[in-house]
Chain length 372, copies 2
């Protein structure tokens, strides 16, 4: 079987909607947030823990797994699901974003991208076909087309040229991809230029994909500009296909994205700030490694029911982080992922109840007050 | 209540024995191995995971907790058990071993030891009374006397002088200690000199403690010399008191220690080598980070039923460790602690069945063959 998508409910006052994404590894309710397992592991966590905090579908990175341990090795292991012992759905990105982030370490041509490994400096070549080959070896449920993601700000001219190449690459991906139990999503580019977003969306829809991602946002542009791009771009994506906003995961952007019709998100934010000793709470971000929490014997977030909040104090978690103890960042990671995944649960509930706009307002009001 | 000890079974062919150590936080079966939670956490693990791998009693380090986060803070948190969310028995060492390991950073006098923190270089003073005060604040079930642990090799003269000071310090600890729900164990020193071991044991027994540790072994001397010291020292410890061999945890030494009448052990070895990518197996140590395991899709130890061996391959764990992913050392830590704690379970079973010597021989034969 391949992945299929059904919209089950539409909000009356916004573009928010509920859906079911059926994959060979189970069905997930959308809007969904996918925790990021860059190197075949959601950092610090076991698969059981990811599931316990509410994770149902994860993202893993083609670029990283291609370089280490290698997609051939993972294929020999029986695919990424078996290799990492995660039996839920996996989406893999195409490696495009990472390769283009390498800056001077890469060279782009019509054929593809030549780049040097960030690990050992060795030379590699990624093309649309190679990105498909690698993702087919990994065996993810959803593969992404190989795209170019221009930085912000970029000139209209460059973004235009780049999106047209991205469309040609998307076509090559579509033509090369053949794996019955893996779906292929296209990635819409176009920077912050509405007409270019429209052009990109229309070209990709013409090729035809199982889902459409909006890439190249949350790369440094003001949030309002991102929201405008969503307002403008989403209508060009067919109603019956999943819409995936790549690399977005802060609570405000998740809410604004859902309201604009986004079904899928991924982001390293919750797990990355956790490892820096910061946690998300109903009252905003709290830097638990700060000295003010040394003798604070309350939980990270008094309104949270995650494992960390049920069993440990800010004081203890701060001690662990200051002392370099791994359990500290395990607990902040568990908390942050639980927080974001619980937020998505409440978002789905609010859409179901027809009050997503009110929910957004109430949530953001408390979130902006600052931690207790 | 305070800690009490009962010998429940004695082996006929060796000094091995079974016992029950009752503490205010539960009863443990001896011989017991205590995982080390230096800074108030068994590195990388939650308390539930420690229990799942078979941990029943843990050790934590007075020196480290005194410096960070501070014993006063832990007292305010309700004691170490509550601070770290471990409701089983805890033994704290006295800080002596760590302070003396600081080398040029410390100065010894009859009154105590002046030392500099390894964290920030700040100056501190530890005396027998201070070591008691700190451990009473931590609220461990078993506290240890403040001792001096001479390095190996040391001159007979120095070891003699040092053990006599250790005896005087033990008396001061005994006099100062007052906490009804905390037991105090004395530490026998004397290096590798039988007469000095006897003198130390006799002086401590005269003062009278709830248990006796053998310190200053496994500090670089040949293993046979350690075994000789155990043969010689154990008979001077009253039969009805627990005997604790400090800092020992390799499979061979655990077996030889049990056979010589030891009831309690602690060691960082299983958790430390785990973090270096080495695991204990029935066929000896295996360095899973080595290249030869890159495509080895078998478990760490085919004979093991721990969480890591039931769910992951050598190939995946090696990938995680090479990629610097925390889950890698979580899995090797789980495996190594499970291995050692399971070994102790089998040891207790063998003593019960009267075949501990045969068990030792069989175990060591396979262990010396090298990994599959």
């Amino acid at each position: 079987m391949t992945t299929s998508f059904t919209v089950t409910h539409k909000d009356g006052a916004s573009r928010a909607r509920l859906g079911l994404l059926k994959t060979p590894h189970g069905t997930v309710h959308t809007p969904v947030f996918m925790p990021v397992g860059t190197q075949g592991t959601v950092k610090t966590m076991t698969p059981e823990e990811v599931r316990d905090v509410g994770g149902r579908m994860i993202l893993s990175n083609t670029y990283h797994l291609y370089l280490r341990p290698g997609h051939e090795l993972i294929r020999e292991a029986g695919g990424l699901h078996r290799f990492m012992n995660w039996d839920g759905p996996i989406l893999t990105d195409s490696g495009g974003f990472q390769v283009f982030s390498l800056g001077p370490l890469r060279k782009v041509s019509e054929e593809g991208v030549c780049f040097r490994s960030h690990i050992d400096g060795s030379e590699h070549f990624f093309s649309p076909e190679k990105a498909m080959e690698v993702q087919m070896s990994l065996g993810s449920d959803v593969a992404m087309t190989f795209d170019e993601c221009p930085p912000y700000p970029s000139s209209r001219e460059y973004v235009h040229e780049s999106l047209e190449r991205t469309s040609r690459w998307a076509k090559r991906c579509r033509d090369f991809h053949r794996k019955e139990d893996q779906s292929l999503f296209g990635i819409i580019q176009g920077g912050v230029f509405p007409e270019l977003r429209r052009q990109s969306a229309q070209e990709l829809v013409k090729i035809g994909f199982a889902g459409y991602a909006i890439g190249g946002l949350s790369v440094g542009e003001p949030k309002n500009l991102m929201y405008e791009m969503l307002d403008f771009t989403v209508p060009f994506i067919p109603e019956d296909k999943p819409r995936y906003l790549m690399g977005v995961g802060s609570p405000d952007c998740l809410l604004e994205g859902v309201i604009r019709g986004i079904d899928m998100f991924d982001c390293v934010l919750p797990t990355r700030i956790a490892r820096n000793g910061s946690v998300l709470t109903r009252r905003g971000k709290l830097v638990v490694r700060n000295a003010e929490y040394a003798r604070d014997f309350s939980p990270l977030d008094p309104d949270c029911e995650c494992y960390a909040c049920r069993n440990y104090t800010r004081s203890y978690i701060r001690h662990l982080i200051k002392a370099g103890e791994i359990l500290g960042i395990r607990l902040t990671t568990i908390h942050n992922l639980y927080f974001v995944l619980r937020l998505l649960e409440e978002i789905r509930e609010a859409i179901r109840n027809g009050n997503i706009l009110q929910y957004r307002n109430d949530f953001m009001k408390a979130y902006q007050e600052g931690p207790l």
